[in-house]
């Protein structure tokens, strides 16, 4: 043929590829014979739904960020090329996009199954939320109602919490990357956040696709603190919701799940205050009771042994005096305490005081000096008090202690009224 340069086969392939690679194209078709070889190479054919004609497609696995399956309708952005060795024509795919909700749902299901198998949704991996978070990371669009609802309900329940907002896009092509970037920013916050809330308002299945992203799911799974999601309406479950440690139904619900209401906490504090008061008053009452008990023990000891009554009575009086001094010291401090506590403690102290006073009069009545003053005397034999006719014999020497002195005497007769 005149004028045409003669090429070798490989030179022909090379020149054709040079030409073809300047012509990127976008092709839409149905996926068939999808397969992945050695985890590295993806092969499938695109079929024309109309007349059934096909084109072979090829791409390295790392470039495929979606789960594809036969039957899905997709659009591929690709470079046509001839494979050098086999001469086969194929499209080298740069980017795949699923077309239509049906395809999206299928991709969602596949990803869900895959991540479930990888354990990302495991119930025993869900972490408990801290009960009193001081710092919360919020991933949301600051313009959204979800954002303002969350903040409003949180402040209504528990104030003083620091909220660190990482703004992001929540739908559209750039959203998935934006949400992940927000998560990354919050990971490096110092001091660290106690938990993350990820939220956006309701939308269609397509609107929420950013939260069905595999890379986001894995980043959430690896995140060091618990994540709470509130994405879309209650019935819309996204992959992010499944990976999350806790899923809330709405942004307001998220605020409820992460915080106590200050009323509940106050009630708890009041219960603790009551416990403190009760235990303290019981403690003081126990000591007062002990004083009471010892007083009674002393009294019964006195009935048997009147020898050292004065000494014992002095001991008791000084002990009770010390007790009163202690109580008075505490009483002075009481004024600084809540008046309710003060009232209770005052009455406990008053009752103790009365009981001790009752013991005091009991002791006084046993004080031998008072007995002597009334005209009674104490008879002793060999230093020991004579309490019974059996303690002496006729002719025994005895000492008699009277109010103003003592007498030495001798028993001349024993009269036993009973006999």
């Amino acid at each position: 043929m005149p004028g045409l340069p003669v090429l070798s086969v490989s030179e022909c392939v090379r020149q054709l590829n040079e030409l073809l690679k300047t012509q990127p194209i976008c092709v839409e078709g149905e996926v068939q014979s999808f397969s992945v070889s050695q985890g590295r190479w993806v092969f499938f054919t695109l079929k024309d739904a109309g007349d059934g004609s096909i084109l072979e497609c090829f791409m390295p696995a790392f470039r495929l960020r979606l789960s594809l399956a036969d039957g899905m309708v997709v659009r591929v952005v690709s470079t046509p090329s001839l494979h050098a060795k086999s001469g086969r024509f194929r499209l080298v795919v740069e980017h795949v996009e699923i077309v239509g909700a049906g395809g999206l749902r299928q991709a969602f299901e596949q990803l869900r199954k895959k991540l479930e198998q990888d354990g990302l949704f495991a119930p025993d991996r869900k972490r408990a939320l801290p009960r009193y978070p001081e710092r919360i990371g919020l991933i949301a669009s600051p313009d959204s109602a979800a954002y303002s609802d969350f903040i409003k309900v949180l402040n209504a329940r528990f104030g003083g919490i620091e909220v660190i907002v990482a703004p992001c896009l929540v739908q559209g092509e750039k959203a998935a990357a934006s949400v992940q970037e927000a998560l990354r920013h919050l990971e490096f916050e110092s001091p660290p956040v106690d938990l993350i809330v990820m939220t956006r308002g309701g939308g269609s299945f397509e609107d929420l696709m950013a939260f069905n992203d595999e890379a986001l799911a894995r980043a959430m799974y690896r995140f060091p603190v618990p994540i709470v999601t509130a994405i879309g309406h209650e019935r819309d479950v996204t992959i992010a919701d499944l990976v999350a440690d806790v899923r809330a139904s709405t942004p307001s619900n998220a605020a409820e799940l992460i915080s106590f209401h200050r009323r509940e906490v106050e009630a708890h504090l009041n219960t603790l205050l009551a416990t403190l008061e009760q235990k303290l008053t019981e403690g003081i009452a126990t000591i007062a009771h002990d004083v009471d008990r010892y007083g009674q023990l002393f009294a019964s000891a006195l009935e048997r042994e009147t020898a050292d009554v004065s000494h014992v009575s002095d001991l008791f009086l000084s002990a009770s005096q010390r007790f009163f001094t202690r109580l008075e010291t505490e009483r002075a401090q009481l004024r600084a305490w809540p008046s309710r506590t003060e009232k209770v403690l005052r009455s406990v102290i008053e009752r103790s005081r009365e009981r001790v006073k009752a013991q005091e009069s009991l002791f006084s009545s046993y004080d031998p000096k008072r007995v002597l003053k009334r005209g009674y005397s104490i008879v002793r034999r060999g230093g020991r008090v004579v309490q019974s006719f059996r303690d002496v014999t006729v002719g025994a020497p005895v000492s008699i202690e009277i109010r103003d002195g003592a007498l030495e005497a001798e028993v001349t007769e024993i009269i036993n009224p009973v006999s």
Binding site: S141, V165, A182, H185, G283, T286
Partner: protein, 74 residues
């Protein structure tokens, strides 16, 4: 130590208070110990109630790549 006192850690303060309430009667007849614990308990309750009275938290917004897409938020 001053810094710690100014920024009350709610959880830690509440835990200390709960411990005190639990162990207040462990002092036996040592009324001094009980009174000291009681007073610390009152102090903690006062601090925690003050914190509960707060009606707003602080909001801090980070700079992310898509920051300027959003309207100005305080």
């Amino acid at each position: 130590m001053d810094k710690k006192k100014k920024e009350l850690n709610f959880k830690e303060a509440l835990q200390e208070l709960e411990r005190i309430a639990e162990t207040l009667d462990d002092e036996g007849t040592d009324i001094d110990g009980s009174v000291k614990k009681f007073e610390r308990g009152l102090e903690l309750i006062s601090l925690l109630k003050k914190r509960l009275a707060a009606t707003e938290g602080t909001i801090r917004t980070l700079k992310t790549k898509y920051q300027d897409v959003f309207s100005d938020r305080r």
